[in-house]
């Protein structure tokens, strides 16, 4: 293995190294206190994020199985950052947990899988990466070992993941049968949009739709989100979804480029369905985790709108939005996680009057919800605007109109939570909560991220300058 290969694989190697360090710590120093492990891991993850900031050249390894470029390096680093944030936010929950080292090993194994998946240049590699991440994720979602709901969530996750993987695999094998190759570049030259290939495409698309929980493939989402421990839910909704979207654009833009006319209409349908179904179901949820689950279905619909743009602006806006989504959604889940860990309350009704005793926490929640709803000056506004701007590039204004109306609908349920926090006065509001240092750092990062990512135009310009390489090969 040459030095250049090590350099282009450095993010994967780094994450794997952390897993091994944890293994040594677990086996060699059994009586280590939980707090120490948490601190060490968070430092390592921070180092990982900083290392990831070094740019990377365009390079291909393992006969085209693995490829990387500056945008992919950035995407991976965004996932690194999200993982760090999840880890910081989970501090309260993990401190009382007996299996901290295992949690991180599983988490990082998942991350490694995602990295290989994003970097895949071959459908086989893609599938391997995906499966490497799916199985630990299922274990993670049952990590609240005492709760029955958690095991139930994990079970549902495994079943739906297996089902979607089967769909993907079937599609991939059909595609192999049609073209005799699994390589992205070669595939795109051999596709012509025949009915047979279209069938393979639909299967692959369904697999993807399962993974990003786009309607009508979203049924697992709410139950799994509700059953899993909150940090795992946060990880699922942000990192897992982000990673799948990253590879999804590549597969669509590179492999299925010759079939763009075919997938355009299907994606419009998928996007409209996801937004509408997600929003309508979110309207009546009483539990915050379920509300955020359905909101994440709706957000998938919005991201799909950017994907539909199938242009450089579309690609950039998707990556940009996922960055914003990392900050916004993790901040929201962070608050939920903190409150759930300290009081065990997870319903919207329980949040009434939160503002009386927890001002900072309430504002974090409000800002993140406003960002999710796409209200300026938060970054969510810019993210949504650019997604729809890219989506309108094809001139489909009816579609954009539906999307814009959906933003109004979604505002209602986000405002419901804000209303509960700020306006309602219950007999017994949640008392003053103690926010430990680690989640505090994470909240600051998230809020700063939400405010800066949008207002400072540089972030988008940077992402835009990196994107657009997908048409290259």
């Amino acid at each position: 293995m040459g030095a250049d290969v090590i350099f282009s694989l450095r993010q994967e190697l780094m994450v794997t190294a952390i897993v091994f360090i944890l293994l040594v710590m677990k086996v060699g120093m059994a009586e280590l206190r939980t707090g120490v492990i948490l601190n060490v891991v968070n430092l390592l993850l921070l180092a990982n994020v900083i290392l990831g900031c070094l740019g990377g050249p365009v390079s291909v390894a393992f006969n085209g199985m693995f490829h990387t470029n500056p945008l992919i390096v950035l995407e991976k680093n965004m996932l690194n950052l999200a993982t760090l944030l999840v880890s910081l936010l989970a501090y309260d929950w993990l401190k009382g947990h007996r299996h901290v080292a295992e949690f991180y090993m599983l988490l990082l194994a998942t991350l490694t899988g995602f990295f290989f998946m994003i970097s895949a240049g071959n459908l086989l590699m893609f599938y391997l990466g995906l499966e490497l991440s799916t199985i630990p994720l299922a274990a993670l979602s049952s990590f609240d070992l005492e709760k029955r709901q958690s095991s139930e969530g994990a079970m549902k996750f495994i079943l739906s993941a297996a089902f979607s993987s089967a769909l993907l695999l079937f599609g991939i094998s059909l595609l192999y049968g049609a073209t005799g190759t699994l390589d992205f570049g070669v595939l795109s030259r051999r596709l012509d949009g025949s009915a047979y290939q279209l069938f393979a495409f639909i299967l692959i698309l369904s697999g993807f739709a399962f993974k990003v929980s786009a309607a009508p493939f979203h049924f697992w989402t709410a139950d799994v989100y509700e059953g899993s421990p909150v940090p795992v839910t946060a990880y699922l909704s942000v990192v897992s979804k982000g990673a799948v979207f990253f590879i999804f654009i590549q597969v669509l833009y590179i492999v299925f480029k010759p079939m763009a006319i075919n997938w355009y209409k299907i994606l419009v349908l998928l996007s409209v369905l996801s937004m509408t179904v997600g929003n309508l179901f979110a309207l009546r949820q009483e539990r915050l985790k379920r509300l955020l689950a359905f909101s994440s279905v709706a957000q998938s619909g919005f991201i799909l709108a950017g994907v539909i743009g199938s242009s450089r602006a579309g690609e950039a806006s998707v990556v940009y939005f996922i960055l914003i989504y990392i900050f916004s959604n993790l901040a929201a889940f962070g608050v939920v996680s903190l409150i759930s860990a300290q009081t065990g309350k997870e319903g919207i009704r329980d949040y009434r009057g939160l503002y009386t005793n927890n001002k900072a926490l309430s504002w974090v929640m409000a800002i993140s919800l406003f960002s999710l709803a796409g209200i300026p000056p938060t970054a969510g506004f810019f993210g949504k605007f650019f997604l729809l701007l890219a989506g309108a590039g094809k001139g489909n204004y009816v579609f954009i109109g539906i999307a814009a109306l959906n933003m109004v609908v979604s505002l209602y349920y986000y405002l419901r939570v804000v209303k509960a926090i700020f306006m309602d006065t219950p007999d017994e509001p949640i008392g003053k909560l103690n926010i430990p240092l680690m989640p505090n750092i994470a909240f600051v990062i998230c809020v700063v991220g939400i405010m800066v990512t949008g207002l400072a135009g540089g972030v988008y310009a940077y992402i835009y300058s990196l994107s657009g390489g997908l048409y290259g090969y």
């Binding site: 602006a313 950039a316 409000a366 406003f370 209200i375 300026p376 000056p377 506004f381 605007f385 650019f386 729809l388 701007l389 309108a392 590039g393 001139g395 204004y397 954009i400 109109g401 814009a404 109306l405 933003m407 109004v408 505002l411 209602y412 405002l415 804000v418 209303k419 700020f422 306006m423 309602d424 135009g457 988008y460 310009a461 835009y464 300058s465």
Partner: protein, 495 residues
């Protein structure tokens, strides 16, 4: 002058308020902040005047721009002309008065003033934007402060009203958003001046003009999308009502005129009858609906629908005089309605009721507040010498310039609505202000405190200044209206 100062001033004040301790310090810092806003607005007015008299003929002055999202051709681009300067001045006036009457706010004082200041920053940003993306950004930025101000500090069905207002305004924004995308993909830019120089294809205009006009129209209580106005205005705390009716509703009128009509003149001509129809319905319906109200705030809210109908009527008539009148009506209504809400707030603070039938004889115990109330009422019904008369007569004269049965009918109906206005205003003032004291417990009530007096003087001063010497105002507005008239003149006649 660097126009971004107008946005920065409230933001800096808001940050300063955040770090203040103590009730009094928060109030005084906010007051200092809004006074600085007014000073800035006056400096802007003087500088603008000097440029114009110095012979600067450029359409937009004090422009500055930098690329915000260069990849998408989105700029932060600001500049002002006469219309914007006047709107900025109005905002500064209303903001100062709003802070002055908010002296009695007792709960979460810090948050209240910060949100109020954020609202004003959004309004300034909106009025100086020359890039439609920036404009949209500032249009939507007010959703959070409005929602929280009404929901937390409001009265009555406040949560319901706050939610209704936020959702309806967001729906308006969504329509504006679609219209903007249409323009963007037709011209390739959000730049207001560039779009105004590029003829937008008539087919595009025909589709997207309604989106823009109706979208902005929601903010200006365009019938039948006015339903957020009564609930929102009457539930909001005094300062927020003043801002909502005084400034926020004007954002819509400004957008209709500046963005929809100016950038799509052909479609404006084509849709003109529809606009006039809706505006006339709003005027007449609003006036009749007001007659049925018993709550002072509802009276003012419904009369706002009627008065904002004049704005839309003036814009819909598309003649220079009518459009000038529409902008004058924006200013006049902004000052008058803010004054009205301030007076109602003062009365409510003391008597704890806003119901007309429970009030009476207030002139005896609070002469100052009652006088202010009467002045606002007289301005509302269009008494010569006050701004309402000037604005309305200009709209009517401009409307009469359009010949044709339908336009004449609309003008006559609008004129006739003034009679109804007189009925409800005189009845309300008569019942609340005049007559014997209704309730003996009102005997011990105090008159306006110094801050309330100051707020009253400020707004009454504005109303009278326009009423007596309207010429300075129309002089300011004409150069801003003329390009719109020119573009309408150049527009090919479709019919």
């Amino acid at each position: 002058m660097n126009l971004s100062l107008l946005i920065l001033a409230p933001l800096i004040t808001a940050v300063a308020v955040l770090f203040c301790g103590g009730l009094n310090r928060i109030r005084w810092v906010s007051l200092a902040g809004v006074t600085a806003q007014l000073a800035l607005a006056f400096v802007l007015l003087v500088l603008y005047w000097r440029e114009r008299t110095g012979g600067n003929e450029a359409a937009m002055l004090f422009q500055s721009r930098f690329a915000w999202f260069p990849a998408l051709n989105i700029w932060y681009h600001v500049g002002v002309d006469g219309i914007s300067v006047v709107m900025i001045l109005l905002t500064a006036f209303v903001m100062l008065a709003a802070v002055l009457v908010s002296w009695r706010i007792g709960t979460m004082v810090k948050e209240f003033f910060v949100l109020l200041l954020l609202l004003s920053a959004g309004a300034y940003g909106f009025f100086i934007s020359l890039d439609l993306f920036t404009l949209f950004f500032f249009l939507e930025i007010s959703v959070i402060p409005k929602f929280l101000l009404i929901g937390v500090w409001g009265s009555g069905r406040k949560e319901y009203s706050a939610m209704k207002l936020a959702l309806m305004l967001m729906a308006g924004s969504a329509l504006v958003f679609i219209g903007l995308l249409g323009l963007y993909y037709s011209v390739g830019s959000f730049d207001w001046q560039q779009i105004s120089r590029t003829p937008v294809p008539v087919a595009v205009q025909r589709i997207f003009f309604p989106f823009l006009f109706v979208g902005f129209g929601v903010f200006t209580a365009l019938f039948p999308l006015h339903t957020w106005v009564p609930d929102g205005h009457s539930s909001a705390p005094t300062a927020a009502s003043m801002f909502l009716a005084g400034i926020s509703m004007k954002l819509g009128g400004y957008g209709c005129l500046r963005v929809a009509v100016f950038l799509m003149p052909e479609a404006a001509k084509e849709y003109s009858p529809a606009i006039i129809l809706l505006a006339t319905i709003a005027i007449v319906y609003g006036a009749f609906a007001t007659m049925m109200q018993k709550d002072l705030k509802y009276i003012n809210a419904y009369s706002s629908i009627s008065h904002c109908g004049f704005i839309l009527l003036g814009i819909g008539m598309l003649t220079q005089t009518a459009m000038t009148g529409a902008v004058m009506q924006m200013i006049s209504h902004g000052l008058m309605t803010a004054l009205f809400f301030a007076a109602i707030g003062m009365i409510y603070d003391r008597t704890h009721t806003r119901m007309v039938d429970r009030l009476g004889g207030l002139l005896k115990v609070m002469p100052y507040i009652s006088t202010v109330f009467v002045i606002a009422g007289l301005c509302s019904l269009g008494l010569p010498g006050l701004s309402g008369f000037v604005a309305e007569i200009t709209v009517f004269m401009g409307s009469w310039q359009r010949t044709g049965g339908m336009y004449r009918l609309a003008t006559i109906l609008a004129c006739a609505s003034i009679v109804i206005t007189a009925v409800y205003i005189l009845r309300a003032t008569g019942q609340t202000i005049m007559g014997p004291l209704k309730d003996p417990k009102y005997n011990g009530l105090t008159d306006a405190s110094w801050n309330e007096r100051l707020a009253g003087i400020l707004l009454v001063g504005g109303i009278v200044a326009i009423g007596i010497a309207p010429y300075w105002l129309s002089n300011l507005l004409t150069p801003g209206i003329r390009p719109i008239v020119d573009s309408l003149g150049k527009a090919i006649n479709i019919k």
